[in-house]
């Protein structure tokens, strides 16, 4: 729980900052049977990022990384919109898009688990080629569609709640059930923590890793549907551009180490919300949107520094508090190696 403290503090501070500029920031109201308010907007617009980040969390926990999710977002939206524009019907369009995403994810997982390529490289292949593939599907154009049913996925409401938020809650619920109620989470953490030891303990890592990459791509696919539905069009070139970086950030801010092992889904959600709140805040306090990236850089640096044990040790030492000196990771490795420390 302690590792969720700092992301939570940052999120609260960011939200509180808005009060000074938008007094009505925290008010949530029902208008025309729909929930309205800035907080709802943060959740609604943050939904795709949260989805992608959930998938990314599992991948990172296995000690991997998935750079291709942004391209998968674009491919999913492109294929769904293409199908709808060719009157294939909504169920068919969604099924085709998500089906393709599963295949692409399984391909990533296959490269990593069966062929044994480093994850960053294996998914770099699809990151580069996938963008081309999305543009190939849309033939380099932006496909615009007009389908009210499809529009619901990203922009609709159900029982006053934005549909996107419900999708996020559902995906989060399923993931939490699979990982924490069932034993998937422990096996993922074991594979990410020590792959060879896991193999010798009889864990079938290959299947788990392939499944994790497939589910990351599936999450990205749903996010892709949401994004394209929200704007009723598919843009192979720009949809989901750099979302993989935001998702990785969200995971890291949420306290999951890029080295794999222990992961935290709630931390990831907090991380994604921080990133989304930051964007919203910049608009609401009237800073020129060009500087969004600057603020993002600053917040990312701040959050990562706060979470870094060696930074905290140094900062506290400077203040003259005689906190017990935590060994730096480097020292910990050394101490662990001797086995007799």
């Amino acid at each position: 729980m302690r590792r969720l403290l700092w992301p939570a503090v940052v999120l609260v501070l960011l939200l509180a900052l808005n009060i000074f500029f938008t007094p009505s920031f925290f008010s949530v109201q029902v208008r025309d049977g729909h929930l309205y308010g800035s907080l709802i907007d943060i959740l609604r617009f943050g939904a795709p990022l949260i989805l992608v980040s959930i998938g990314m969390t599992l991948v990172i926990a296995t000690g991997g990384i998935d750079l291709s999710v942004g391209s998968v977002v674009a491919i999913s939206g492109a294929l769904a919109c293409l199908q709808i524009s060719e009157d294939a019907g909504l169920p068919m369009a969604v099924a085709a898009a998500l089906g393709l995403c599963l295949v692409l994810g399984a391909w990533n997982g296959f490269l990593v688990a069966a062929v044994g390529i480093q994850p960053i490289i294996a998914t770099l292949i699809l990151m580069v080629a996938g963008r081309g593939l999305a543009q190939l599907i849309t033939d380099g154009q932006i496909i615009t569609i007009n389908d009210p049913a499809y529009k619901v996925i990203g922009g609709g409401y159900w029982l006053t709640v934005p549909f996107g938020i419900l999708v996020v809650i559902a995906v989060l619920g399923i993931t939490a059930f699979l990982t924490r109620r069932l034993a998937l989470g422990m096996l993922i953490e074991s594979v990410g923590g020590n792959a060879e030891a896991s193999r010798l303990a009889g864990i079938r890592a290959r299947g788990i890793v392939i499944m994790v990459y497939a589910s990351a791509a599936l999450c990205a696919g749903v996010a892709g549907l949401m994004i394209s539905s929200n704007v009723s069009s598919a843009d192979g070139n720009n949809a989901g551009l750099w979302i993989e970086l935001d998702a990785i950030l969200a995971v890291v801010i949420g306290g999951t180490s890029l080295a794999g092992g222990r992961f935290s889904l709630s931390g990831t959600v907090l991380g994604a919300l921080i990133i989304q709140t930051l964007t919203t805040t910049i608009y609401s306090i009237g800073v020129p949107p060009e500087t969004t990236l600057l603020f993002k850089a600053l917040v990312v640096t701040a959050v990562c520094l706060i979470q870094s044990p060696s930074f905290r040790a140094k900062a506290f030492r400077r203040r003259g508090r005689s906190a017990p000196t935590q060994p730096s990771p480097e020292e910990r490795v050394l101490a662990g190696r001797g086995g007799t420390a």
Partner: protein
């Protein structure tokens, strides 16, 4: 008694880690031209003391004097420059670089600021020759065995103008010949007036090479003794803080075994182990003896499916089978505690509980979690039975000492109630007390009908536990000897040396 002035004096050293007092008021004196053994169980503080000395950790209390001057090193580099070189327990070299570079990295011969590769290779050659080692020094280190890499590490350490040389368990990966080679080098360095601080778990080696010793226990100083004035029994007593009962053979009577469990016929894997035949019966403890690299671990890995057998047949309980994965072996209730528990055994991030139930969970797959109550029951039972300390199953396993980590891996397999338990060096690098506990446990398990394949570098241990001993040499199984009164360590040594051809 003209005692020369110490070259190094550490006094009143204290070191605190979160939750642990690793060192408390420890003194150490090194005289020039002596081999000084640093003794203690795991967790006694040996490694921490060495790390404080070499500047890896700062000391919280106490002073270090080198040749009369007070020093405090901020890094291993500073220590090295002041004349304190270290060869660590595990080979700390860069496998991707050439042998020559690994020896001379950081002080490469240069001409006009440019590394002179030719002189570098020549110098490396010369330094290795001093240790009677001949290698292609331009080949990457990774092509050589661990033992050779260890020699390279020592060559590196002695090249530095060292006044103090620290050898932290350098012999744990060397075979007998290589140990003798190392000792020759140590004696030569001693004559040159270098003080050598030597850490080893092998008591015989300590008595062969060391002049004096300092004993630590639980982070405190027990005392400093001349080696010749302290008997082995006294030493062990001081290390573990109690008198150890005399070691006796754990299996009294030679039993007969008639229910074969695992039968290997011509099982082999090219480049790893020549085809061998081996039968393990229910309730039988089979010892594997042989030098490092003789194929001991390879036999175990084939029987567990960790590697694929290239040839031969395997029958388990009379039914022919092939073990393609560890998982397949586990369905036949074969368990394997590997030699390298840090790399092949533990998941350091996970808790003690999770590490213990890991294999059980793996057999059930992720869709059928082991209920939490069952986990707590099983874990509680084995934490108690194996006396895992601290007895808190919810702390990360990385925080445990080596011996306790070994017990965690053991517990993982014991809850599966295997029919064959393969133990690869289960007592390596752990303290004397834990060693005896594990040995006793093996005897109990086999009395209960479990078959055990026991691998150890210590012949006494193999003799103590096994019903029969398989001898390996040069990746071949050369002899099978029943363990009766006529079998002694001398006989075993002879068999290993002769390859079983003469008897």
């Amino acid at each position: 008694m003209a005692v020369p002035a110490p070259v190094l004096t550490m006094s009143g050293i204290g070191k605190q880690f979160p939750g642990v007092k690793a060192l408390d008021d420890v003194d150490l004196r090194l005289l020039p031209g002596e081999v000084h053994a640093l003794m203690g169980e795991n967790g006694a503080g040996k490694s921490t003391l060495i790390k404080v000395l070499t500047g890896v950790h700062p000391a919280d209390a106490g002073t270090i004097e080198l040749a009369g001057r007070t020093v405090a090193f901020g890094s291993p580099l500073e220590a090295q420059q002041a004349g304190i070189s270290t060869v660590y327990q595990e080979v700390n070299l860069c496998p991707n670089l050439s042998v020559a570079e690994n020896i001379l990295l950081g002080r490469e011969p240069r001409r006009l600021g440019r590394i002179d590769w030719r002189r570098m290779r020549a110098r490396a050659h010369q330094l290795l020759a001093r240790l009677d080692v001949r290698l292609d020094v331009s080949a990457p280190l990774s092509v050589y065995s661990l033992a050779v890499q260890q020699m390279v590490a020592i060559a590196r350490a002695v090249d530095i103008d060292a006044r103090v040389l620290i050898l932290d368990e350098p012999t744990s990966s060397l075979d007998a010949d290589e140990v003798q080679q190392l000792f020759r080098v140590m004696r030569r360095l001693k004559e040159e007036g270098i003080a050598i601080l030597f850490v080893s778990h092998f008591l015989d080696q300590i008595y062969e090479i060391s002049d004096r010793m300092t004993i630590l226990r639980n982070g405190r100083l027990v005392g400093e003794y001349p080696t010749s004035e302290l008997s082995q029994v006294e030493l062990v007593a001081k290390m573990i803080g109690q008198e150890l009962a005399a070691l006796e053979r754990l299996h009294g009577e030679a039993k007969t075994f008639d229910r074969p469990l695992v039968e290997a016929r011509g099982l082999g894997r090219s480049g790893a182990i020549e085809p061998f035949s081996l039968t393990i019966h229910e309730g039988e403890v089979v010892g594997l003896a042989g030098l490092l690299g003789s194929g001991r671990t390879e036999v175990a890995r084939l029987l567990f499916g960790a590697d694929h057998a290239g040839s031969g047949e395997l029958a388990i309980g009379g039914a022919p089978t092939s073990l393609r994965t560890p998982r397949a072996a586990m369905t036949h209730r074969i368990a394997f505690c590997s030699e390298n528990r840090k790399e092949d055994g533990l998941v350091p991030d996970l808790t003690v509980r999770e590490n213990i139930v890991l294999a059980l969970q793996a057999t059930r797959g992720w869709t059928r979690p082991v209920p939490r109550e069952t986990q707590d029951d099983l874990v509680g039972k084995y934490v108690k039975a194996l006396r895992i300390s601290p007895p808190n199953p919810e702390i990360p396993v990385r925080n445990l000492s080596g011996g306790n980590q070994q017990k965690v891996v053991l517990a993982r397999w014991l809850i599966l109630e295997p029919r064959l338990l393969i133990l690869d060096e289960p007592t390596r690098g752990i303290d004397v007390g834990a060693k005896a506990e594990i040995q006793r446990l093996v005897a109990e398990l086999s009395d209960g009908g479990m078959a055990v394949l026991f691998i150890s570098a210590e012949l006494e241990e193999v003799l103590r536990l096994s019903h029969k001993v398989e001898v390996l040499r040069d990746r071949r199984l050369v002899a099978e000897l029943p363990n009766d009164e006529s079998l002694t360590t001398d006989v075993l040594l002879e068999t290993i040396a002769s390859g079983g051809r003469v008897s």
